[in-house]
């Protein structure tokens, strides 16, 4: 065994698993790295080893992941769990931490499928303890069976309804749903509704979740805006308006959510070209129909390419694998085309539904681009809108100059929590498109790296010295961004 592979896949979510299964069947050498202790990604987290007595309660969209996880477990790809990738070079070099040591491997083809993270929700008070993301609520539930009683859920998008429904099925009391989907979104999305009909079962699923929440008697506030979280040291209450009417709910647990955006730290640090997706209002790596990025041998799949959902992720993962196999000379152009065709067709159909979802749950401007001068934008360095505005006026016209002037985006999260906000804020102030403004110039390491471990880097252990056993050092909340 060597530390060189035909294909290295970063992330064992649906995209990575599907790609690995497809590629490894042909006999090429595949390695899959994931920082968790098992495969599944965020969506199928611990689906084969749930801490819950009755994981079915989490819904069929979760349970169905079992099949893919089992297929993946059985496939011949090397699997490195507890492997935290901190550098991918545009030459195909992968550096990762595992059990307190840095290892390296190289691959002819690299697939980045690190999924999505929740979009920042920069409203006054969002940085206070007690405020988390709905996604992290779900991660706590799936991974550790931990829940929060009497929480207020705030935001928009399918995930928030799903998490509430999962809570309710477990008998956890939910204090309220403050739904920020504007009433106008329902009407506007109707124009795109015909595209959603082929996937009407998914549409129905969404509606039934909403009904489930209403039937359970959870107070629902619709078309909420002017959101403000109150509290000195910790969240104590949430204030908002609906139709001009002021509301206030006392609570010390608030879960925010307004959709997800691709995880950019890795693709940005590699230096791949990115573009602004006007439909999804997020940055994504530029890629062709087969997930190939601006660097020939680096591909992207799943939500890392722009949000496609779990089913879409599986399809894009397979599509990438086929194209990689072609470049590796394992399958012909014709075979790639034949096998890709049905996948492309399904993906196309899914995309029409995606347009509907994107339109329906598009977060409103004031929840993406903070209006209140005191709102914290960069949580790591605690920089407010007012401080950024001052930096902008002093010449911080682009994200990197602004970072240099204000330290916004310099903290441990590497701008994950503020990158999109800063791009959009600057675009507004400059009166230009987000595309012109750009994003932070990022570098490895992708995550915090222990100095002592890094210091031992030159004495790097070859990968074949590793056992393949899962690491014991998994952190429970992991990728779930604490919003």
């Amino acid at each position: 065994m060597s530390s060189t592979f035909d294909i290295a896949i970063i992330g064992a979510g649906p995209a990575g698993m599907a790609a690995a299964v497809t590629a490894s069947k042909t006999g090429v050498s595949v390695v899959v790295l994931d920082e968790k202790s098992s495969a599944g990604g965020q969506i199928y987290r611990k689906v084969t080893s749930s801490p819950l007595e009755n994981p079915e309660i989490l819904g069929p969209d979760y349970i169905k992941g079992k099949a893919l996880v089992e297929q993946f477990d059985d496939c011949s790809a090397e699997k490195y769990y507890g492997a935290s990738v901190w550098h991918v070079g545009d030459n195909g070099e992968v550096l990762f931490s595992r059990d307190g040591q840095t290892h390296s491997l190289t691959a002819k083809e690299v697939l980045i499928c690190c999924g999505a993270m929740e979009r920042p929700f920069p409203v006054p008070g969002w940085h206070l303890p007690g405020v988390m993301s709905a996604g992290s609520a779900q991660v706590m539930l799936k991974a550790d069976g931990i829940v929060r009683e009497n929480a207020v859920f705030v935001g928009t998008g399918p995930l928030i309804y799903l998490v509430i429904a999962q809570y309710l099925r477990l008998g956890i009391k939910v204090k309220a749903l403050v739904d920020t989907t504007p009433n106008s979104a329902y009407i506007e999305s109707m124009t795109k509704f015909p595209g959603a009909i082929p996937q009407s079962s998914m549409l129905f699923k969404g509606l039934s979740l909403f009904n489930e929440i209403r039937k359970a008697g959870v107070p629902v506030f619709r078309s909420a805006r002017d959101i403000k979280i109150e509290g000195a040291e910790q969240a104590e209450a949430i204030e908002f308006t609906t139709g001009g009417k002021q509301h206030r709910l006392d609570t010390d647990h608030i879960f925010l959510h307004q959709g997800v955006v691709p995880h950019l730290n890795l693709t940005r640090a590699i230096g791949l070209d990115h573009e602004w997706d006007k439909q999804q209002l997020c940055w994504r790596p530029v890629h062709n129909d087969y997930g190939q990025s601006s660097v020939e041998w680096i591909s992207v799949a799943g939500d890392n390419t722009g949000i496609v959902g779990a089913d879409g992720a599986e399809m894009t993962g397979k599509l990438v694998a086929l194209s990689q196999l072609n470049r590796l000379g394992v399958i012909t152009n014709a075979e790639q085309a034949v096998r890709s065709e049905p996948l492309n067709r399904q993906l196309h159909s899914l995309n029409r539904f995606r347009k509907f979802i994107d339109s329906m749950y598009q977060p409103i401007v004031e929840h993406r681009i903070p209006q209140d001068e005191t709102t914290v934008v960069c949580r790591c360095e605690e920089r407010t809108v007012a401080e950024l505005k001052k930096g902008f006026e002093q010449g911080g016209q682009g994200p990197n100059e602004l970072k240099g002037l204000t330290r916004c985006g310099m903290g441990p999260c590497q701008g994950r929590q503020c990158g999109h906000t800063v791009s959009e804020l600057l675009a507004g102030w400059r009166g230009e498109g987000v595309e012109q403004v750009g994003y932070y110039r990022l570098r490895s390491p992708m995550r915090l790296l222990n100095l002592q471990e890094f210091g031992q880097f030159s004495e790097i252990k070859p990968i074949n010295a590793m056992t393949g056993e899962p690491s014991a050092s998994e952190e429970p909340s992991a990728k779930g961004e604490v919003v």
Binding site: H87, G89, L95, G271, Q394, G395, Q397, G398, E401, G404, L405, M410, G411, P412, Q414, R443, S444, P445, L448, L449, N450, L451, Q452, F454, G455, Q456, F457, S458
Partner: protein, 374 residues
């Protein structure tokens, strides 16, 4: 437009270009600065921020000493926050051999009449740096030294220059330079310029500008690497270096620790970017943890490098062109030019306005590597 025909055209919006612009503009000279990216984009914005007199080459000491005095009041002079903090700088001796190196240096410095580098013993080293490893035997300290925030400092010079009438044009790369009669004709990506004087402060790109002016120079470029940790409890006030090992770090007021050491990554000048050499950068991490065991628990947050210009003798080029009139150079600072910026800008302004400088600039001549005899 006025700024297209300045008295002095400066190529390069790094800290030296900005400082020269400030000193010239203050003297009433019409200045335009052309910057191909944005001001402070490369070495000036991303360096380690060391404000260091300690360990300077003898040829640089006179300039460095004056610069150090200027730094102490620079915020007031520029009416800005450069982030300068006087913290002292200690180079640590790891063994007796290092101490012998220091004694030899002291003899040389004393002979030249310089007294600012003070050798300290192990006990004093521990008093000044309580967390230093027991193995370290002593060191040398310069009290006036410290650090500043590079991006803020460069911006401070720029703003002060602008207040005095200097104009900065960003995103303006120089395509060609020629002399027609008494004037420099400079064609850049957006505009054409005409000026009486031309000042080359183009950093890692200065050899290209030199050649356009008519001076050859053996300049190379590289990518010195840095890393910074997340916030740590306060454990080191002085800036720290080592006598014979690649170690250099400073702890900022917010607790983050910036670790350098001079190891170099890969400079991809054509593409305006750098790549890191993680194995070499790791040596800096290892040394930091060995000299300061408390740092074993540190978390590296970011790593980076910038494009920097180097001369073969690690001394800058400061002075006049040898092949053209009214052309001037200030570049090639070889990873230690940040501290010199306040004084070199003044030197350039003096040279351009009076033809003279208070300093002996022989060691910095651009043609010092020209072979007189083959």
């Amino acid at each position: 437009m006025n700024h297209l025909t300045p008295d002095v055209l400066i190529v390069g919006g790094g800290i030296h270009g900005c400082s020269a612009a400030y000193h010239l503009a203050r003297a009433g000279v019409k200045v335009t600065v052309l910057e191909k990216d944005w001001v402070s984009r490369h070495a000036s914005g991303v360096n380690a921020g060391g404000v260091r007199l300690l360990g300077r080459d003898l040829a640089e000491v006179p300039l460095s000493k004056v610069a150090m005095n200027l730094w102490q009041n620079l915020d007031d002079e520029l009416d800005a926050d450069t982030g300068f903090r006087r913290r002292s700088l200690i180079n640590i001796a790891a063994d007796e051999q290092d101490m012998n190196t220091l004694y030899a240096r002291r003899e040389k410095m004393h002979a030249a009449g310089y007294q600012h580098e003070i050798i300290i013993d192990q006990q004093e080293l521990r008093e000044r740096l309580p967390h230093v490893s027991d193995q370290c035997v002593g060191g040398v300290v310069s009290e006036s030294d410290g650090y500043a925030i590079p991006y803020q400092s460069t911006k401070a010079f720029r703003r002060a220059a602008e207040r005095n009438g200097a104009v900065f044009v960003e995103g303006e790369a120089v395509d060609s330079i020629r002399k027609v009669g008494a004037h420099w004709q400079v064609k850049a990506s957006k505009n054409s310029y005409q000026s009486e004087h031309l000042l080359n402060c183009a950093g890692a790109w200065a050899d290209k500008i030199s050649v356009m002016i008519g001076d050859n120079v053996p300049l190379t470029h590289s990518a010195p690497m840095l890393m910074i940790t997340t916030r740590m409890p306060h454990f080191a006030t002085p800036v720290v270096g080592a006598v014979s090992r690649p170690l250099s770090f400073k702890q900022f007021e917010n607790g983050t620790v910036l670790i350098g050491g001079g190891s170099k990554g890969f400079a991809d000048r054509a593409n305006n970017r750098t790549r890191l050499d993680y194995k070499k950068l790791a040596i800096g991490a290892k040394n930091a943890a060995e000299f300061f065991p408390i740092m074993k628990k540190a978390s590296v947050n970011r790593m980076w490098s910038g494009l920097e210009a180097y001369m073969p003798d690690n001394l800058p080029v400061i002075g006049e062109s040898v092949n053209a009139d009214n052309a001037w150079h200030a570049f090639g600072f070889s990873a230690h030019g940040f501290q010199l910026a306040p004084v070199v800008g003044r030197v350039m302004a003096d040279l351009i306005t009076t033809g003279k400088s208070d300093f002996d600039l022989q060691a910095f001549r651009i043609d010092r590597f020209e072979r007189k005899v083959l």
